[in-house]
Symmetry: D2
Subunit: 370 residues, 4 copies
């Protein structure tokens, strides 16, 4: 099968998530990167493109021009990955979708609700598709958790708790990765947007339950920081389930510690990113089962990926699975688990509602269906 | 050294916590149980007493009579352990303290705030002392955590999270242990009182910070249950620290899973009851250290107990340490870490405030200093 | 029930294992220590006895005299605990058994095979019984492992691996606990005797299979140490099973890390002392089950002890269970799991054979049935 | 940088390790697969090649022809990956090296010592280089372990233990992956060759110590199996260190559980494949440090790879790192950690010596330096 021709917006020299997207695209051999607007600085754009093997005539400094030029080429890109800071997502998403080019975008969708709502109205040309890379939904055991809940094995879901804990913003910091993340204009939120949205998406992804309302409390523990570095959110989910989310970037000793626990009337599930190949499953009154990727037990088929059990897959493989499933979709298959525009809109609304609730002393605010 | 003569109120045949107190009293050889009002049913009181070697003339069916009779004997009990259901604590506490007999009482102090406040006014005869058995504060690594925070190694505490998760009330249940715990009149609260108070006490014990206000959300997930079986509480602590507590009795797969994480400006700490001999300590920017009971590292002396490292101590030893430290106190020593009446009053006020806050949609309510 | 009157030989001030035996005896209330020859130094014997509440007239400096005197008293001890260094076990064991007093002895049975074989010929007066405190066989989940193997759930046992790793003898040392353990005359062996015997006993206890032959390799890594500080042993067990044992006292970072894995034709089991309340059980082709003390799953009844699941029991409880089961035996019950003289003889023969095999470059030597 | 043109021998439809090599080659973008002799069956070779995008004129059924043809093309492959069963390694290795084409070969090097010794005499044309893919030496924390030992932080190494436990051959099996592995002619050994060689290589890789002699015991627990499915090996390493290795394919419940522990005079190290991002490091007398990939602590720079800490990398990334480091070598850099022909020869000699030792009841046999 021929690889899909891929472009990239953002991800020039020094970027973190751009190279991750490139590995993810390459991992299973379904994409080839042939064009890019890797930086808005022409010299840096050209140098970055050369470094990753993009031909000079397809190294752009302006994504709008790239969208026009590539759409016009017979060998133009079929899809584009957008890996710019959050406030620079909306423009290229619209431009490429309207040019009939499929879009893969890093989360969150946008920095503001208005942008996200406008995007929801975009009419893509030529049925162009959209993927929001909520990485954790690409983990095999997260998908198996979703399958187990969907199978009814948990009974009715009662209680969900998801955490996403980091410590890299414990001190005031001026590194490049931190700089835009703590600037409200560029990021659209602090911990709640950067990592809280992952916990939020994961809760819905695993349980299949729509969130209905939230109450949030955001803190900025580092003096002078303009955005939150710690967020506690309570969620009412459909079916009278209740969820708590905790995102923190000042939890000293936690690296990138996402976890989720789901408790139902009949069984419980626990998954933790630091041991991503394991899912603890406990039917009430029976021993806890340590389910493993590619290993036996309920819904095993939901977690069959590249390697036999005991050969650890991790973050890049989860990311690569999103790309690979999207490739299958683009080739006419179906991929019901992939996050799209509505997930993105829900995430941005979640961030905005959390900020407003926190300012109102934790008032309960409704979350509109996306 | 001669053992302290101990009596017991409650803890007759079929009880859970009574036998635990007896083992704890016996463990280090500092107490001898010589009298008891183990049941209000005379026949059961007598049979229960005989079973544990109490002489028939000191087996009472009425604690008030026991307090009078023992206070009058030259060889009367010096201390009494009260292990009745929560709503039957206040009476014997007052009676024994006023009789000049030291009191050891299971938590929570009482089932109502009014009872607890009244107890706070009691004038014990002969300087009788009071111990509230908040078991977890007897764990060596919990005490070491407290010592590390007190040493300043964490800097300023910012964020605390404590969980106490069980699953035994997942289904409607009619067992004896469950029956009074889900009866508001006997228990004074559900999960928030039975186990949430442990998480609450632990947060204050480890951080040394007084709680100032709370916002709570209590759920009764099992239909028809008159008390909460899941409680989420947010706490404002002095010094601008923020804590979240989660107590649940419907978390399928969790046995008795208490944990606490404390994050400061300079370091973080994590302790979990399922691995009680370990404390994870991470100075910001340095590797996580796995501190162990009786092992090297900061504040090692706070966790020196009976056995060398690697010989696991557990719940009974933690409980026994409270008894042993109290014996030292009764013999004229000091034991600054022991929970007393003010901790008990604080706990009962916490439960009451949590219930009121939850009824008011999570409104913030002040917590008076005890 | 009246407590059993207990004496103690050894265990004076500064001892490690003596206090452990005393706690174990006290834990469940089945014993009362009323006599002791705690030291061969009269002044220290008296002071040590006073400290633990033994009446002066029953504080002996000579165990032989104690055996005679106690046997002659109408209120004399019914049982004695022997907690001296290894080379001082045989004398008192014989004396007390022949005086009709039950004996509880710390392991290993003796320092030499000749002593152990002689003891096997002793005819106890009045059917006096003998208990060797192989502590680890008192752990609930070790007993559950034994029950699961006995139930046939593993099929035929093929492969066993047991480790006992410590690090406290990493450096040359002159502390009291170390001194006699590294003296061949007092200890009868180094790591292989002090802890290797535990791994050896555990292998037989869990599998129920008799060892038939061994090949061993002992090392003394610390220059000048006269006994081994690291022992690797291969064992042929009956039924064509094969076991490897590894005992080390120079494994830096391991505290007291005993573990056992048993693999059969149908399932596997793993237990580790650092998490003693858990047993991993994997039927071939099915998920691993995390069995817990007092929790559900196969052979649950073999691990019902004092506390509900999630309230950790540990070393003292395991030790106490041996004492409690022995009390039941003395009162006429049955306790099929308790280690006795034949286990002790097997252990001493194991140590001797290991030393001879190692000197013969790992030659295979038969292990006589005890 | 232009990708290196890569060919592949073996790895057609249904293969396990072939696709792994392809992902590893692709991961960091340093290789492009342009030719292959993926099967000796012409139709399957052609179909397999088409599936992975190899042009029909470069899809060969005969590796000898491929070596000749590719060496003759101006755009011929620069390197080749050999992923055939073990007994089919030697021929293509020689052919490609002599054609001046770099060789990447799956381990073990060959099925016999004679083949391996012959290969050691091959004179590659044009300085062609050789990589043996001992995957585990590509794990960041394994490399960090090696660096820590090399730094002297462990002092003198005394004791090493490495395990590689699987359970997939618990029952007699006829699957394709199993079939050739249990055929002595194709595999050259059973568990000892398939996975024991990994443990053997890892021991030398981490400690930097050459093995001098071994004593081995191989078992075939499954009746009728012509090769071992369980291997226990003792090794004498230079400097008076002692190692034990255990490889098993009948350890029910173990997936692919490689681990290594190294104990020196000053510190200890433990690494386990099931948690590959963690290395436990204990300086004697200090707390255990939980070192993490890309995290702080000793020799951190040895484990800097693609992602920040807490974003798990795994098996494919370790494999990819070997490919990437080899690419750096081919481009003129240095990669001192990469396994080569001498490691391969040592491994094959290890397997042969283990078989002979086991037949001689565990006799000690010297291991020649490779």
């Amino acid at each position: 099968m021929k690889p899909i021709r891929l472009g990239m917006v953002g991800g020039g020299q020094g970027a973190f998530i751009g190279p991750v997207h490139r590995i993810a695209a390459r991992l299973d051999g379904h994409y080839q990167i042939v064009a890019g607007a890797l930086s808005s600085d022409p010299a840096r754009a050209a140098a970055s493109a050369a470094e990753i093997g993009i031909a000079p005539d397809r190294a752009y400094a302006d994504w709008a021009q790239m969208a026009r030029a590539e759409a016009a080429r017979p060998d133009g890109i079929e899809a584009v990955a957008i890996v710019t800071p959050n406030h620079l997502h909306a423009g290229p998403i619209r431009a490429f979708l309207e040019a009939g080019i499929h879009v893969i975008c890093d989360k969150p969708l946008t920095a503001t609700v208005a942008e996200a709502e406008a995007l929801a109205q975009v009419r893509p040309a030529r049925s162009a598709r959209f993927l929001l890379t909520h990485t954790y939904s690409g983990y095999p055991m997260v998908r198996r958790a979703r399958a187990i809940v969907a199978s009814g094995a948990l009974g009715q879901v009662r209680r969900v708790h998801a955490e996403y804990l980091q410590d890299w913003l414990t001190d005031p910091t001026d590194n490049k990765q931190a700089a835009w993340r703590v600037d409200p204009a560029q990021a659209g939120g602090g911990a709640v947007g950067d990592i809280g949205t992952h916990a939020f998406h994961l809760s819905g992804f695993v349980t299949g339950l729509a969130p209905q309302a939230l109450s949030a409390r955001l803190h900025s523990f580092v003096p002078g920081r303009p955005v939150d570095d710690d967020a506690t959110v309570q969620l009412r989910l459909e079916g009278r389930a209740f969820a708590t989310l905790w995102a923190s970037q000042i939890a000293v000793g936690r690296e990138n510690d996402l976890s989720i626990a789901v408790y139902g009337t009949k069984a419980g599930l626990e998954w933790r990113h630091s041991d991503p190949e394991t899912l603890l499953f406990t039917p009430f009154g029976a021993p806890t089962q340590r389910l493993r990727r590619a290993g036996p037990g309920p819904c095993a088929e939901a977690a069959e990926t590249r390697l036999p059990p005991g050969h650890p897959e991790g973050y890049l493989e989860a990311f690569g699975t999103l790309y690979t499933d999207f490739a299958a979709l683009l080739r006419g298959g179906s991929s019901p688990d992939l996050p799209g525009l509505s997930d993105g809109l829900a995430g941005v609304r979640f961030v905005a509602a959390a900020a407003r609730s926190s300012q109102a002393e934790g008032a309960w605010l409704p979350l509109d269906p996306a």
